[in-house]
């Protein structure tokens, strides 16, 4: 029988029981795209208030021409699995989790009841009793190409300004070890989105243990050696200045996305830079992740479309969804599955089905499939111990 299940977007779990996320291990990707399981790409936040008073402001499109963009990056597991392997070697056991995936994918699933314009196609592979979820590369590639066609120069610069903001607001070493010149000349540094520092976080929703890989922008003050570093991480964002109530409301939608992104991995602070239409940084604001729902609730501006509590709703939806995935997917390592949300076809349901043979073979290929060879070998080694 052809395996095919649906999950309604209206569905909500009874509660939203979430465990506090904890970091398992962190890893870095350098300018060449090489992964290393260490903190080499960890950056430290430094953007004092006085720098925003500079006459002329901080130009977030400076250096646009020298931007080094990452090639295709649709979420391969190379780095994540290397880090997991290192972690498992350290504890000498398998990571106790049901689902291993990327945080970004989980975020888009979580917000589906409210953010449902785009098509989502995820591939699910079962390996060694655990579920691995990844984006479907084909679909992602098509979406990216479509976007490139409709992207204007301004859009490209706006995207660039996000990376630029990250560059000018962080230091590669703790402040005390940087020279004055290094700190003051940050706006001259070349920007890229290849260098990355990522964390691997374990949490659980209901009965499902979830491990996610997530890129972290920087650490606020320092990364402690013997305590959980998650409370020290910061997420950096940029957006347009708010100059009208409509802008404020659309920003609140963005805030929902930021919140979901940070909540999933336990990042407590979001620092948002506001840039005007000339891409000059005008103001910066700090938000505590846990305060965002309260802030939005207390917004005094008269709202024509008051929202129900989107935060709680998303959590409950996600709780239900992730547990459903965990329960529904049979632990059959010969098959792969596909979770699809297509607003054009059916905006009310998520569709879970089996992949066809071609795709399955691709995904399960021991060399080039979803699970890297090194990881497969490691798990074999672990099993034989």
């Amino acid at each position: 029988m052809e395996f095919s299940k649906v999950y309604p977007l209206q569905s909500r779990a009874q509660d939203a029981s979430v465990k506090q996320p904890k970091e398992l291990i962190s890893y870095s990707r350098d300018i060449e795209g090489q992964y290393r399981v260490d903190d080499s790409q960890l950056s430290y936040f430094y953007l004092p208030d006085s720098q925003l008073n500079v006459p002329g402001g901080i130009d977030l499109q400076a250096g646009f021409k020298d931007f080094r963009a990452n090639g295709e990056d649709f979420g391969e597991f190379t780095g994540l699995l290397a880090a997991l392997e290192a972690y498992e070697r350290k504890i000498g056991a398998k990571t106790p989790a049901n689902i291993i995936t990327w945080r970004g994918l989980m975020r888009s699933l979580m917000l589906l009841p409210f953010v449902n314009r785009d098509r989502i196609v995820l591939n699910i592979v079962v390996f060694d009793g655990q579920i691995f979820i990844q984006q479907d590369f084909q679909n992602a590639r098509e979406a990216a190409e479509l976007e490139k066609l409709t992207q204007s120069d301004l859009n490209k610069r706006q995207i660039y300004s996000g990376y630029k903001f990250e560059k000018i607001a962080t230091l590669s070493k703790p402040w005390a070890q940087c020279s004055r010149k290094e700190i003051e000349q940050r706006n001259k540094l070349p920007v890229n989105n290849i260098e990355q520092y990522a964390t691997v976080v374990k949490t659980s929703f209901g009965k499902t243990g979830l491990v996610m890989g997530a890129e972290v922008d920087c650490v606020f003050d320092y990364k402690p050696e013997d305590a959980d570093p998650l409370p020290h991480y910061v997420e950096l964002k940029t957006t347009r200045v708010l100059d009208s109530p409509q802008a404020v409301f659309s920003f609140e939608n963005k805030l929902l996305k930021f919140w979901a992104q940070c909540f999933l991995v336990g990042i407590p602070k979001i620092i948002c830079g506001f840039r005007d239409d000339n891409l000059i940084l005008r103001t910066v604001e700090e938000y505590k992740t846990e305060q965002i729902p309260v802030m939005i609730k207390n917004n005094p501006l008269p709202n024509r479309h008051p929202s129900k509590n989107k935060f709680m709703q998303s959590l409950k939806f996600f709780n239900g969804l992730i547990n459903w995935i965990n329960e529904t997917i049979p632990r059959d390592e010969t098959k792969t599955y596909r979770l699809v949300f297509d607003p054009a076809v059916n905006p009310n349901y998520l569709n879970l089905s089996e992949n066809n043979a071609t795709v399955t073979n691709q995904l399960l290929d021991p060399e080039t499939g979803m699970i890297s060879k090194a990881f497969r070998d490691w798990r074999n080694e672990l099993r034989s111990k």
Binding site: L242, I280, T283, M295
Partner: protein
């Protein structure tokens, strides 16, 4: 620096930086006074770290000015305990206490120490003679003098130098006291104490600076740490600014408090003081008030003061503050003589800051950068100052002439009035105070009908004629002046009246009432030294009249006189060398403040400073320093003590100072010249002592080391700081284990756990199972032996030195701003002379400073237009201001309106509470209000197009915003 002068200047110019210390009164139950509970919340706001510059406590406790001194050194220690306890109860640090005693100083400072000690030894000798004379006098009159007083020799304050036995007693006493408090005071439970005593090289205040700087280099350091430093030195204010730790305050005694009966005790009083007076003085001393000087608020003022529009580079407040600190110590510091044209009392700092503001827009960068000097900038500054030099000297001279004239005139008038008074008051039996003594007021009223006379004095005609001269002169004098003098004669208080005469009177009177700091003496210059004693060893010279700074050609005369040569070439050489050394000196001092001591051996080899006009071709000068090593304590003692204080040194060294055949006897002259150099106060004169040749001295001294006893050798070593912890400290158990396992490894601690970073290792001398004995020879029921298991002592070293940067740390949250727009405008728009008339530099009682202490709010960013929170905030403000139809009441209008209009766009933290100057602000508000409402908030159409937006924002930058140049 002239301590009172600088402090007075600062508190007049920036009045709100001072606030009184609120002390908790001990509760009195019956007859027993309950001690103040340290663990109670502090009424002054909470504090993390307190730093004690111990010399500011040791000096007043061991040789106080306005009460009788303690009898023995042990009693001095107890007095120090009591005083320090009081200071601690005022500040109540919760995380860290650092006690820093002056250790061996860098050579550059030693010269000043040397001249002070030589002079103090001479003064002590003179004082002793005077005392003996007084005793003799009184005895001749038949008074009986207590034997104890007769035989007493006043204590040599030169013992307060590292390496003396006194300092050793002090070190041991401090350790005892800290252990005692850690073991017994519950408020000290989690406090960490670092003692940096005289065996750790470096001046006290600079050891504190080094410590703060080193803590900042730790990534786990809390950027919102609140600091407080106790000390009397004005330098501490600059040190506080130089740390760039914004939550900083200085604690000091209020020497200018009005109800202070702080008379300096004269010798005559001390000779036969009775017990009642003694107790009264002691009691008064207990209650003297203290002040906070808030560096955080000083930074607010400086942000306005130093903000220059149209700079060719970014305005950076931290760099501007560095420049300001540089200019302040240019005017007066401990290592170099100040330039003849710059003096704090002459508003030297204002002159320099003015020049700096004018010169900076044309320069490429600030004058200083993290402690390095931009010599080009200094040259520009100096050349501008040079243009003013002539005028400064002339004005100074004229001012002095005027003052002398006024003094003479006043004296004459007083004599005249006295004569009149003596004559006239003889006839008055009742109501002497109200008696009119001026003949103009003595006009008798004659009733036309009855012929009776009323009023007037019964002065016969002959008497009037006899005194006609004085009477007519008195008449001729201005009537107001007469009023003043009359009142002054009867009441001895200040009065109002004619400006010029009165200001002279006022100034003179204030100067007389001024309680003065430790080393000031109130006698006139030459009189101080040459008057009574026949054995006047020093010759006081004053070259002012021969140099005549107010007449052209003074530069040549200056060099000729000071260096006793007329050879032009030689003078030129000297001049160039002086300038080079002076530039080295200011570079050295700058590095000393911002990075730590650059060289332990450098010093300025002249007694005088060059003129500003001589600072040319500075870029040819290359400034380099060799670190060198600090002297050992005995070596320092040999470099600064005169022969008379030789008892502080081990015996083997004393002959080196006094025997004629000693190789270094030329370093210890008993007679030396003092050059007043135009200064007024005795202590301001320059001692013309020969500079010590380091190599020769060290060689001779070190030859004697083999003859020292073990105890003496111990006193001569330089050591590490010591960290004390109580049982409740988070590290207690961990460190105790190190003692138990005798593990000598160095532990590196970071700031996260307890707010302290550094390297710690076990001490050889500390035994956790032993006891610390109470050693002082003073009977007490308060202090007793302490068992070592109640506390822990470890050796402590600072974290590795990192190049320090003058920047704010990430995560710093500013305090709630105190200054109102009116305060800021006063700085920007008032002329320089305005605050001179502001005599009121008393601490204010009307503002509550507690909410302005420490970090405020939850974010490091100020609210600006464009953000989410700011949009909502502005919406709420407008709703509030529209909801209330404001009557013409100050409070409401200010609350809503001024918040977002007054400050331009940037600063929403000014609550406008104190903004009572409504009328003044009204026009300003409307201007801003119009622009704001029309362009930004209500009119969204303007934002549709991208280009407009950009233009709009740029426009706002260029629009001149009064007093708000951040855009």
């Amino acid at each position: 620096m002239g301590v009172p002068a600088l402090f007075r200047w600062l508190s007049r110019k920036y009045p709100k930086i001072i606030s009184p210390v609120i002390e908790e009164e001990p509760i009195v139950v019956g007859d027993v006074e309950q001690p103040v509970q340290y663990s109670n919340p502090n009424p002054n706001g909470e504090l993390d770290n307190l730093y004690l510059d111990m010399n500011g406590i040791v000096h007043p406790c061991s040789h106080p000015e306005n009460k009788p001194p303690p009898e023995t050194e042990a009693e001095m220690m107890v007095e120090i305990f009591r005083y320090t306890d009081r200071v601690l109860n005022m500040a109540r640090p919760r995380k860290l206490l650092m006690i820093a005693v002056d250790g061996v100083a860098p050579r550059a400072k030693m010269n000043q120490q040397r001249s002070r000690r030589f002079r103090s030894a001479r003064d002590a000798a003179l004082a002793q003679e005077e005392l003996e004379r007084q005793i003799q006098e009184r005895e001749m009159r038949g008074e009986e003098i207590d034997l104890a007083i007769k035989g007493k020799k006043s204590w040599d304050s030169n013992s307060i130098t590292p390496g003396t036995p006194f300092m050793d007693i002090l070190a041991r006493s401090l350790r005892y006291w800290v252990a005692y408090k850690l073991a017994n005071d519950p408020g000290w439970a989690s406090l960490q104490v670092i003692i940096s005593d005289a065996t750790v090289p470096g001046e006290g205040e600079h050891k504190i600076m080094n410590f703060i700087r080193s803590q900042r280099s730790d990534p786990e350091y809390n950027p919102n740490t609140t600091h407080c430093i106790y000390g009397l030195d004005a330098d501490l204010i600059f040190l506080g600014l130089a740390t760039h730790e914004p939550h900083f305050k200085v604690l000091r005694e209020d020497v200018f408090a009005k109800d202070q009966a702080q008379r300096q005790l004269k010798l005559a009083d001390q000779v036969n003081m009775d017990e009642a007076t003694r107790q009264r003085l002691l009691a008064a001393d207990q209650k003297k008030p203290f002040l906070w000087l808030h560096v955080s608020i000083l930074r607010e003022y400086l942000e306005v003061e130093l903000n220059i529009p149209r700079l060719s580079f970014n305005f950076d407040l931290e760099r501007a503050i560095d420049d300001w600190v540089f200019m302040c110590f240019f005017v007066g510091n401990d290592f170099l003589p100040h330039l003849p044209s710059l003096d704090v009392r002459d508003n030297g700092i204002d002159i320099l800051v003015d020049i700096w503001k004018r010169v900076l827009p044309s320069m490429k960068d600030y004058l200083t950068c993290d402690g390095k000097l931009n010599l080009e900038g200094v040259e520009t500054l100096m050349s501008h100052l040079a243009q003013k030099e002539d005028e400064i000297f002339r004005k100074r001279y004229e001012g002095e002439r005027r003052r002398e004239e006024n003094d003479k005139r006043r004296k004459l008038e007083r004599e005249q009035t006295n004569a009149v008074k003596n004559q006239l008051l003889k006839t008055v039996t009742k109501g002497k105070e109200k008696a009119p003594i001026m003949p103009t007021q003595n006009m008798t009223l004659t009733s036309l009908t009855t012929g009776e006379t009323a009023g007037g004095l019964k002065m016969t005609n002959s008497e009037i004629v006899q005194n006609i001269n004085t009477i007519s002169k008195a008449n001729a004098a201005n009537k107001n002046v007469a009023d003043i003098l009359k009142k002054a004669l009867f009441n001895n208080t200040e009065a109002n009246g004619n400006a010029s005469a009165v200001s002279v009177v006022k100034e003179a009177e204030i100067e007389e009432q001024e309680p003065i700091d430790v080393s000031e003496k109130k006698r006139s210059a030459s009189a101080a030294f040459n008057s009574d004693s026949e054995q006047s060893d020093a010759e006081v010279i004053d070259t002012t009249d021969s140099i005549r700074l107010w007449e052209p050609g003074y530069k040549t005369r200056y060099y000729q006189q000071k260096f006793e040569t007329t050879d032009a070439e030689e003078i030129e050489k000297i001049r160039k060398d002086m300038v080079r050394c002076y530039v080295e000196g200011i570079s050295w001092a700058l590095l000393y403040y911002f990075q730590g001591c650059p060289s332990w051996n450098w010093y300025y080899p002249y007694h005088y400073a060059p003129f500003a006009a001589d600072f040319t071709n500075l870029s040819d000068i290359k400034v380099e320093f060799k670190q060198g090593t600090p002297f050992r304590p005995f070596e320092q003692l040999m470099s600064v003590l005169p022969a008379a204080s030789g008892h502080n040194l081990p015996e083997v060294f004393r002959p080196l100072m006094s025997e004629p055949h000693s190789e270094i006897i030329d370093f210890y002259p008993t007679d030396f010249k003092i050059d007043m150099n135009g200064a007024k106060m005795a202590w301001q004169g320059i001692c013309l002592l020969p500079f010590i040749d380091e190599t020769r001295l060290l060689k001779t001294v070190r030859e004697k080391y083999s003859e020292l006893t073990e105890y003496e050798i111990e006193r001569n070593t330089n050591r590490n700081e010591v960290l004390f912890l109580g049982r409740k400290n988070k590290y207690f158990d961990k460190f105790l284990k190190f003692y138990e396992t005798k593990n000598k490894e160095e532990i590196y601690i970071h700031a996260r756990k307890t707010g302290l970073a550094g390297k710690v290792f076990i001490m050889d001398k500390f035994d956790p199972k032993g006891t610390l004995k109470y050693e002082l020879d003073v009977a007490t029921d308060q202090y007793f032996d302490i068992s070592n298991d109640t506390y822990l002592a470890m050796e402590y070293r600072l974290p590795a030195k990192v190049n320090s940067k003058s920047m704010l740390l990430a995560g710093y949250r500013p305090h709630l701003k105190l200054l109102t727009q009116q305060d800021k405008d006063q700085i920007v728009y008032s002329s320089n002379k305005f605050y001179r008339n502001n005599r009121n530099f008393q601490a204010r009682n009307d503002i509550d400073y507690k909410p302005h202490i420490g970090p405020h709010g939850d974010t490091m960013y100020t609210m600006r237009v464009g953000g989410y929170k700011s949009f909502i905030h502005m919406y709420q403000e407008q709703a509030q201001s529209q909801a209330y139809q404001p009557p013409a009441q100050n409070s409401y209008q200010n609350q809503g309106y001024n918040n977002y209009q007054n400050q331009g766009y940037n600063n929403y933290q000014n609550q406008g509470y104190n903004n009572y100057n409504q009328g003044y602000n009204r026009g300003y508000n409307n201007y801003n209000n119009q622009n704001y409402n029309n362009a930004n908030y209500n009119n969204y159409q303007g934002y549709g197009q991208r280009q407009n937006q950009g233009q709009y924002y740029n426009e706002f930058q260029r629009r001149p915003n009064r007093g708000n140049s951040r855009w």
